[in-house]
Amino acid sequence: MTVGIRLRGVGRTYALPNGSIRAVDGLSLTVDPGAFVTVVGRSGCGKTTLLRLVSGLEEPTEGAVEFLRDGRRVERGDAGVGIVFQEPRLMPWLTVAQNVRFALEGRSDREQIERKTSETLRMLGLERFRDAYPQHLSGGMAQRVALGRTLVFDPEIVLMDEPFGALDYFTRRKLRRDIRALHAQTGKTFVLVTHDVDEALTLGRTVIVLEAGRIADIVPVPFETAVESDDPVFIPLRRRILRAITGEDSFAPDISHYQEAGVNASH
């Protein structure tokens, strides 16, 4: 049974030499089990801090992060929370297969580790590269290995911190599709943080817009099938997100010419 996340008045303040900064400011929010939520906002809006608080890499200065299975609270360790960072962060002394099974070593028997590693490599199309070292991988492949290292221990919640940030357009596009397929296939709870509004819209079924550590808007994305980010259906959503962050309304182009061309903006 998949696990959901509940934030209750979560805040995180950092002490600075000349005062303090409030990165996350009293967030309350529930992520349903099996949801795919994207968190979008500009740099410094607190989105990475939010993810680190959920992953347990940082503790909130106030409030609480809770994990719910069947409506009941479970510990983070029991919930199984995996995180994929912006950089692949692979161990350079380990091969692809060894990196993927890094989390399993010493926690399962050898046979099970091998089976899970092979399954994960197959799922991510990395079988051919199982004996390669990270230095010989392209950025996209390295990020897939990092994803594999997280998925291999079967976490109920997968957190991703701008995992495509350093990748080229084509690789990003390919990985976006892979991630959506993976979510559909596994039914796990996915939370992905990004500064890219298009990425947030094409991946998430719900987009949380963060500004100055607070939720500026929660935007449902009511399209079940994968659509490209240039699809006109996104224009009003994109405009709404921009308005929530900046208060401006000039982000979206004038859509009248789409309508003139017979394209209906309401999906």
Binding site: L57, R89, W93, F102, F129, D131, A132, H136
Partner: protein, 285 residues
């Protein structure tokens, strides 16, 4: 240039197992051992011809034949093997003691930088004192026997091992340590599975430098005060005006030093295959 591109593409060939699916530059040179033997062979030839033609006084530089003869004699009467054994045992003991001190201290101060404040002034002072300058005092304290030699080697090798270990541990990517935390590894597991392997190439470089320094320091110490070892053999030959034995000692030192270094390099490459090449910082091959 297009011509260059196509030439470099033609030169690509599949690489070893760890390069699966990739290609690397196939241009290869002769085995380093062969190309590296060019100058020694030329020097030997020059030495031999010069000796034959009497270009220099045979007392100042004996002929290759005389040196080979002396080496054979010293081998047969056991002096050379005994000298090598005696020096090697001192290296093993002194370098071993140095590693036993420098490795844990380097790891400790690498993990707990704040503790370094306690040690750094003392270590900085010791680092700038050449071990051989301490030898007269060391002989007074530890005698002319093995103790003083061991301390000289320890002092000479401590810093390369310590500083490289410290540096390796400190430089461990914080992002990798965070991966360990995100996977709920304990502190010990993070050290064993992330920090130590990450620091290993640097530690191996320190050990390799230390090994080289240990030979230099030992021979210095043996030249000043010893009753056995290769340094003693050279010193003894000097007082007997046996320049052929001195050359034998020098050649033996170079060969043993080079061999132990090469052996260590092979071990390092096996221990850290992903970065083994960088252990060899001097870029000899």
């Amino acid at each position: 240039m297009p011509g260059e591109d196509s030439a470099s593409i033609r030169n690509l060939r599949p690489c070893r197992k760890e390069h699966v699916g990739y290609a690397c530059d196939g241009r290869s040179s002769a085995h380093p051992l062969f190309s590296g033997m060019l100058f020694p062979v030329l020097a030997l030839l020059f030495w031999w011809i010069g000796s034959r033609l009497g270009l220099w006084n045979a007392f100042l530089l004996p002929s290759p034949e005389a040196v080979i003869g002396a080496a054979w004699k010293l081998t047969l009467n056991g002096q050379l093997p005994a000298g090598i054994l005696s020096s090697t045992l001192r290296i093993v003991a002194g370098f071993g003691a140095s590693c036993a001190l420098a490795l844990p201290l380097g790891v400790l101060l690498g993990l707990r930088p704040a503790w370094g404040r306690l040690f750094y002034p003392t270590l900085e002072f010791l680092r700038h004192v050449p071990p051989l300058a301490l030898l007269p005092l060391l002989i007074l304290w530890f005698g002319i026997g093995e103790g003083s030699k061991m301390v000289v080697i320890l002092l000479a090798t401590f810093f390369p091992v310590f500083l490289n270990t410290l540096d390796g541990v400190r430089r461990c990517d914080a992002g990798l340590i965070e991966v360990g935390r995100s996977l709920n590894l304990t502190g010990t597991q993070r050290f064993r599975r992330i920090i130590f392997p990450s620091a290993l190439p640097s530690i191996l470089t320190g050990l390799r430098l230390g090994l080289g320094y240990s030979w230099r320091a030992l021979i210095g110490a043996e030249l000043i005060a010893a009753s056995s070892g290769l340094g003693y053999m050279i010193h003894d030959a000097e007082s007997l005006s046996r320049s052929d034995v001195i050359v034998v000692g020098i050649l033996a030192l170079g060969l043993i030093g080079g061999m132990s270094d090469h052996l260590f390099f092979r071990l390092a490459r096996a221990a850290a295959p992903w970065k083994g090449a960088s252990v060899r910082r001097d870029g000899w091959d």
